[in-house]
């Protein structure tokens, strides 16, 4: 008896196996489509139905998905690179050269890794700006903004730790500078004369480098961070980030949405029926419901099924990013300089472009530019949702016409102030040129970087008083920092040459 059963089971194997993996029918009806989304662990970070407003292209511009897509490309290419890369001082440089010139497809994979990094950093920046300007950090989402900040820091840390791995001149000197920035707390302890007893800077530096100088220990530590610790952290925290968006009811959206705002987005005709068709049912609060009212006796929310529209949208964004990376990787090679040489620095020794704004600040004061101002900026960003608690409509760029006005004014103000301070510094120098014996403390406290920060804080205070609104004041400050950072980055990239001197054009650089 069981023998026939047994043979039957063998025959039925393909079918039973398939049914055990996928426990619902084919996604042909709305019901089974929802089931797919709900029961698949990878899809269920989406809700089964989404707000139509979420799909509005000019609202999110798909920036968050773009960042995630580039992260995915980074993971895949990174895993491929790990096959050939050897994290040892003697072998690292040669292994990168092998990848670039010998391994079939190696050049392309490495270039992809490099370009996806750039794309990720740009999209993470823009995503943050989008969330800020649409006030999407408000209401229940304050903590998710903090999580976003953590992701931002991890992104920068990942790109920076990856920078050392090729062990070329570029890598070596960028890391030398950054390790010393980490150690620049010494400037302060030196000033107080307590470095001998309490050397925080030195401690941080030795923990990062695993030694007193950059060498094998540092390389291994950076490799460990870049390939194990940070990606893991990123994946975990990213999941929390997305999960909370889901639990907060999808992306932030305005309370009142005008029909013309949704023009061009698919409509689900069946949505009308969903709530009206069961008048004989009684509704109760079966579990805790978020928001102000349960959706009983109210018109249906303007939703459509996630499957397939949302997934198509996300997948096209992914393919778009992939295409960009492929094209860039095909035509433009990731840089690789000569082997690291501890005796001869690069001139100019420039960090990757997204750190150049900071490098410009560091060229005024290591402690302030490398530690102080970034800390202030990150803290300020992190506290935004807690200091600006105004009740307001969310989900629209710049909120309203006043918001647009403040943003434009801040852009102008910040551009003028930043360019002014830069021009002044280039033309007249700074305190040390006028008073050669001035104390280091004065320079730590008063340098072009801190002056800029003071100008911006002043401006945002003015806005706070003038408009009597913390939100507008936050907009002013955020815009100032964003624009100023962009200008500094541009300035350090194009107008700083050998010896960090000012040049109008790269062609004017002296020839060595």
């Amino acid at each position: 008896m069981s023998l026939t059963e047994f043979f039957k089971n063998i025959l039925r194997l393909p079918k039973t196996l398939k049914e055990s993996i996928i426990r619902h029918g084919k996604p042909t009806s709305d019901r089974t489509k929802s089931e797919v989304v709900m029961s698949n662990i990878f899809l269920h970070i989406h809700s089964t139905r989404i707000q139509r407003y979420t799909l509005k292209k000019t609202f999110t511009m798909g920036l968050g998905v773009m960042a995630a897509a580039s992260f995915f490309i980074l993971i895949v290419t990174g895993i491929l690179l790990m096959i050939y890369y050897k994290p040892s001082v003697d072998l690292a440089y040669d292994s990168i050269k092998d990848i670039q010139f010998i391994v079939p497809g190696g050049r392309f994979v490495r270039n992809m890794h490099r370009w996806a990094t750039n794309v990720m950093i740009v999209t993470v920046f823009l995503h943050m700006a989008r969330v800020f300007y649409t006030a999407a950090y408000k209401r229940t989402r304050s903590f998710n903004w903090l999580i976003g900040m953590a992701l931002f820091c991890i992104t920068l840390a990942l790109s920076f730790t990856g920078y050392l791995l090729p062990w070329d001149q570029l890598a070596y000197w960028a890391v030398t500078i950054c390790a010393n920035i980490a150690g620049s707390a010494r400037e302060l302890t030196d000033l107080l004369g307590i470095t001998r007893y309490f050397d925080v800077g030195g401690l941080i530096k030795t923990i990062i480098l695993g030694s007193e100088e950059i060498g094998q220990d540092a390389l291994i530590r950076f490799y460990w961070l870049h390939c194990a610790v940070l990606p893991l952290l990123m994946i975990v925290i990213l999941s929390v980030h997305v999960w909370r968006v889901r639990k907060d009811g999808g992306l932030a959206r305005p309370d009142e949405i005008k029909p013309e705002e949704l023009a061009g987005i698919e409509v689900d005709e069946k949505a009308e029926e969903v709530f009206n068709n069961a008048p004989q049912k009684t509704y109760g609060l079966m579990c805790l419901v978020k928001g102000k009212t349960p959706l009983v006796n109210k018109g249906p929310e303007d939703t459509i099924p996630s499957w397939p529209i949302l997934f198509i949208a996300e997948f096209s964004i992914f393919m778009f990013i992939l295409a960009i990376c492929c094209v860039l990787a095909y035509f433009i090679d990731a840089p690789l300089r000569e082997l690291a040489n501890a005796a001869v620095p690069e001139n100019p020794a420039k960090a990757p472009w997204y750190f150049l704004g900071l490098q410009e600040l560091v060229s005024y004061s290591a402690l302030m530019g490398g530690v102080g101002i970034p800390t202030i900026a990150l803290l300020g960003l992190a506290l935004i949702p807690y200091l600006d608690r105004e009740e307001q409509s969310v989900g629209r760029w710049f909120d309203n016409p006043t918001g647009i006005k403040v943003t434009i004014n801040s852009v102008l103000y910040s551009s003028i102030v930043t360019i002014g301070v830069l021009a002044f510094t280039v033309k007249f120098g700074w305190l040390r040129n006028w008073f050669p014996d001035i104390s280091q403390l004065a320079i730590i406290l008063i340098n072009p970087g801190t002056v800029l920060v003071a100008f911006f804080v002043l401006w945002s205070m003015i806005c706070m008083v003038k408009y009597d609104s913390t939100r507008l004041s936050a907009i002013a400050l955020f815009t100032c920092f964003l624009i100023s950072f962009a200008i500094l980055t541009y300035f350090a990239t194009y107008h700083r040459g050998p010896n960090w001197d000012f040049f109008w054009l790269k062609s004017q650089w002296p020839i060595h």
Binding site: W173, N180, S363, G429, R432, N433, P436, Q440, N499, W500
Partner: protein, 160 residues
């Protein structure tokens, strides 16, 4: 029961079961916490590679007055003046780049600090002058620079 007695807060009775539960929980929590703290100490390097701090530069007679020799590997320049020899570190005090030793001045390529002929900062972000290093004579007459021992700016050493 009088009014007063009623208001007194009686200590809540703790059953043995509750006590054990709480105690167990805290024991577990504190041991996990301590384990975490302990492992945080793990990345702090206990041993540094033994990089020699001194290097030989030759005899005093190799340095007639006016010579200047750059020891690239060690990032040190040794100059001979009428009043003696001096060794100046070429490591920028700002963020550790190697400064270029030019006639009468030192320039840093990284953030543009400029030092004068004695290593004092004249322009740029470096917080301190370049370090001056100790030169000593070995019993066999050879001279030796110690990178780890700095001396006050302007210190020169006379050797026969």
């Amino acid at each position: 029961m009088s009014e007063e007695e009623h208001c007194k807060i009686k200590p809540e009775e703790v059953t043995r079961r509750d006590f054990l539960k709480t105690a167990t929980m805290w024991t577990a929590a504190s041991s996990l916490g301590l384990a975490l703290l302990g492992s945080l100490k793990f990345p702090k390097p206990a041993l540094f590679p033994d990089i020699p701090k001194t290097f030989k530069i030759g005899k005093a007679s190799d340095f007639p007055v006016g010579t200047e020799k750059v020891f690239k590997e060690k990032s040190v320049v040794v100059q001979s003046h009428r009043d003696g020899l001096c060794a100046i570190s070429l490591i920028c005090t700002h963020l550790g780049c190697i400064v270029k030793a030019e006639r009468k001045k030192f320039d840093c390529p990284c953030h543009g600090t400029k030092f004068d002929d004695e290593g004092r900062v004249v322009y740029g972000p470096a917080p301190k002058p370049l370090e001056w290093l100790k030169i000593s004579q070995l019993p066999d007459g050879k001279l030796e620079v110690n990178i780890a021992k700095s001396v006050p700016l302007g210190t020169k050493f006379l050797f026969s």
